[in-house]
Amino acid sequence: MMFAFDLLLALALLLSGLRTLTTPRLDRGIVLFIAFGLLLALAWARLSGPDIGLAEAAIGAGLAGALLLDAYGVLQRSKDLHSKGVAFKRLIVIALGTAFTIVLSEALLDPLPAAIDLRVPVAAHLEESGVSHPVTAVLLNYRGYDTLLEIAVLLLALLAILAVVGETRIASPSRAHPVLQALARLATPSIIVMAVYLLWAGAFRPGGAFQAAALLAAAAVLLHLVGLLPGWSTPRLRLRLGLVAGFAVFLTVAAALLRQGALLKYPPEAAGGLILLIESALTLSLALILAGLFLILSRDEDAS
């Protein structure tokens, strides 16, 4: 029974991927891409990788889909959609994609055994890590510095965008129809509850700061699209504090723990609390950064 489902899922993935690439209309391609992302999330869930599935659904299909749709809107306004050389560009994309697929399948068909098997030590030290979900333990405890640098990179990306975009004045987006506004208002509270749950659940099951933040960012994007949340021109002090809070808290904890001998080596009895503190700050900042990537980029410049 499950085999039939898996087969259908694999076929649907291949078909939707193919259609995404070959459909002549850009808007259809984007919608197909979102559907592809959701199918991919299902596939990850079937491969027992619910963490990746959640991230794929929230970021890959949701946020990236919204960004693509927004980019399509801008392209349509600038009437740059049917410029010359599209066929040539597609040819390049198809060639590079094919090359990448060949290299990837070669690597996957003949995987080298991992130099060290880390599954046993990860499981053995789970007691001391402060959380009982191995993925969260790896992300926030064993390899906390990776996550520290990740949030720094995301912050840097947002700062770079802010620096490039500069200070253009913007008008708030036109208000959508009341029905759509009501839908957004209806969805937002349950999205917030879900995000808090994901943050809390990260300690013992799939979830955590990144997934929770992606949900919160999606709520912000939704509110922005129906005109209930103005785009962000220049972040004010409170917003700036929120943007850096995750990195700052993480860095403070790391600095305070330096005398333990290693970077981000938590004392086992305080590990759970520290991880929750860091994850909460991370959720807030990541949500603001992810939403910022959208809200700062999606300013309607022609409306000013």
């Binding site: 129809h177 029905v179 759509l180 009501a182 839908l183 209806l186 969805a187 349950s190």
Partner: protein, 101 residues
């Protein structure tokens, strides 16, 4: 008893999903296709969720399953409205009896 009830609801749900899909494929214009999707599929979803909730191992799981329904109802109503409004704004005329397909 519950097993049979659940099975029956599942079949009814599957039938409505089937009807909705046939409607999506066969109806002549965007408005009637939306109608098929938003109505039949959501009824089908309700039946399937109820069937699953009957078989859930705990009340919490059953309630979570049933919570999906109003959320999807609201989302599909909103999205259906948005698509229909956009189609109307683009000047797509509703199909009338006697029009070609």
């Amino acid at each position: 008893m519950i097993e049979w009830l659940s099975m029956g609801l599942m079949m009814i749900g599957a039938f409505f999903f089937f009807a909705g899909t046939v409607g999506l494929l066969r109806f002549p214009d965007v408005y009637s296709r939306l109608h098929a999707l938003a109505k039949a599929d959501n009824l089908g979803l309700g039946c399937v969720l109820l069937a699953l909730a009957l078989q859930a191992e705990s009340l919490a799981v059953a309630l979570k399953l049933l919570l999906i329904w109003p959320l999807v109802l609201a989302a599909s109503a909103g999205v259906g409205f948005a698509i229909a409004r956009r189609a109307h704004a683009l000047g797509i005329a509703p199909w009338k009896k006697g029009d070609g397909r």
